[in-house]
Amino acid sequence: MAFFFEVVLGGLLAGVLYSLVALGFVLIFKASGVFNFAQGAMVLFAALTLVRLMGWVPFWIAFPITCAVMIVLAFIIERVVLRPLVNQEGIILFMATLGIAFFLEGFGQTIWGSDIYTLDLGIPKDPMFILESIFDGGLLVDKLDVFAAAVAGALVVGLALFFQKTKVGLALRAVADDHQAAQSIGVPLNYIWLVVWSAAGIVALVAGMVWGAKLGVQFSIALVALKALPVLILGGFTSVPGAIIGGLIIGMGEKISEVYLGPIIGGGIENWFAYVLALVFLLFRPQGLFGDKIIERV
């Protein structure tokens, strides 16, 4: 019994990592209606920049520099890619982000190299036992995962407050609803997009830090973007809490199916479980658990 809970817990914590990446997607989609395929590449790029800078300067200098780099990146993306494409349909913008993804992956690795870099943030990596009073001997969890969960939780709360309480957050929600209407009430579209992509960039940096600390900074992190898609389908593309819950469900589902179904039908289920689950959702509830319903009018 305890083993089952351990698996669940491990899955939940893995799910938190997915959620961190999905948060960046939600930010951008919520504010501009663009599905940013490059989010994973941004995670990789941010992590690479951070880890390489840490080769020369300590973390508390490298982190702000990397934040600044991500803001500059957001500026360039907005100027070079988004502005010329402002009135195109979603599918064109999506393909443009595909182009950004490839460019960033190539660019990041050209500059910083493509080895695997270990990221040491001073977070303890050893496992620990929790809930010893309930379960005999306690459940085994990774301290790093707990840290990640705490970070994700803080980010969610921060973002939710940002969207609900601040002026910029309100403007962002207006833009997500209708670009032209928002412009006509004086919302500066370009500035908003800069804010959003910068925020997404910083979320990507945080996600990159956590992933990098856990797995080492390497190219495969970029592929996490693909995993975030099912998370968003489940949670809804426009919902911040949805990204978290979607991530948890996917993480848990993957682990459970791997551990319990794996021996029956062969391992490696983790690779496709999330997508098939997303597919099922798409058929019955395309807006996800918390997303806005999609209505079409003629």
Partner: protein
């Protein structure tokens, strides 16, 4: 001066609707075919067949398939590799398990099975659109990756699947030249069929669904039927391309040759070549092929060596930048640039 329509009057609708209404175009296509079938064999080297021409043709075929689905019918698909894989493995299993199976038949049956598979993963398109549908195709991609790695039966319990000798109707296609002609013929015929489909009622229905599916339904198009037909035809083309890739190009292959990178590669061909254009599939394939070669050769000619890893990264950067460039300046890709070029040629040397 050369590219003129003066004097070419169309006196019947048939002439107006011909595939190449302008005489110069007709001459052009005949020349291209002559060069392809006769000229190339006279001058090409072994390497250019196996390294360039054959893979280019096969991927162009896959690009035609994806173009039908995404360019003409507007259904975004990130699962091209999966459909190619299904075609390849289906053909392979037919050949090794059915006695005296004709290889040509196996390739087309493989395409047929890929078509069924495509219909299955196209069913969600009834309810979902755009990049939500792309997720469904990603599901297909990853599932198929897993399927052919895990279930060893498909590769006959060997780490790599091995293609049979290409002997069809007693004629053996073993030399690179023979393989080239084999692939060329199949690709030409299938490209012709694709062109016929898209200029007739089927293509019109697809484009209507792409442009405004609500209006399409209102003029009487059955949406699910039309979309599934696009999935079926597209997957058939990709399946045949996959079987050709495995049998003719690689010889021995593993499942990962049809992974998500392959899907992206074909998608890039379609975007850069031009969505909604059969010609675009060829132009895009040619371009995607040329870039890595250039990246490898150009620094070498300048005496600057670059590692393969760096070359791969530069490739990714260039592709990414090009996609963005094309989407901004000319979303219809090379095919549209080609058309604009022809229009300018019509006037040349006059300015307007």
């Amino acid at each position: 001066m050369l590219y003129r329509e003066t004097g070419q009057y169309k006196t019947s609708y048939a002439a107006d609707q011909a595939m190449f209404p302008i005489l110069q175009d007709r001459i052009g296509i005949v020349l291209i075919l002559i060069v392809a079938f006769i000229g190339v064999p006279l001058i090409a080297t072994q390497y250019s067949y196996t390294g360039i021409l054959i893979p280019f043709l096969i991927l162009a075929l896959a690009a035609i398939g994806l173009n039908i689905l995404t360019g003409y019918c507007g259904q975004l698909s990130l699962g091209t590799g999966a459909f190619m894989a299904v075609g390849a493995y289906a053909a392979y299993n037919l050949v090794i398990r059915v006695p005296d199976m004709n290889i040509l038949l196996a390739i087309f049956l493989g395409g047929g099975i890929a078509a069924l598979f495509g219909v299955l993963f196209g069913l969600p398109s009834l309810r979902i659109k755009g990049f939500y549908l792309a997720v469904a195709t990603l599901a297909a991609q990853f599932f198929v990756d897993w399927l052919f790695i895990r279930i060893k039966w498909f590769s006959n319990y060997a780490p790599n699947a091995n293609a049979p000798d290409l002997t069809i109707f007693g004629v053996s296609f073993s030399s690179p030249l023979e393989r080239y002609l084999f692939v060329l013929t199949i690709v030409c015929v299938m490209a012709l069929i694709a062109k016929n489909l898209v200029r007739g009622r089927v293509g019109r229905a697809w484009m209507a669904v792409r442009d405004m599916d609500i209006a399409a339904e209102i003029i009487g198009i059955r949406l699910l039927h039309t979309k599934l037909l696009a999935f079926a035809v597209s997957s058939f083309y990709c399946g045949v391309a996959g079987a050709l890739w495995a049998f003719v190009h690689l010889g021995a292959w593993e499942p990962l040759t049809f992974d998500i990178n392959r899907s992206f590669q074909v998608l890039f061909m379609v975007i850069i070549g031009g969505l909604g254009s059969i010609l675009g599939a060829f132009l895009g394939a040619a371009f995607i092929f040329a870039v890595p070669i250039l990246i490898n050769q150009i620094p070498a000619t300048f005496g600057v060596p670059i590692s393969t890893a760096l070359a791969a990264h530069l490739e990714a950067m260039i592709f990414g930048a090009l996609i963005i460039f094309f989407l901004i300046t000319e979303p219809h890709g090379f095919a549209r640039l080609w058309q604009i070029g022809k229009e300018k040629l019509r006037l040349w040397p006059f300015p307007h």
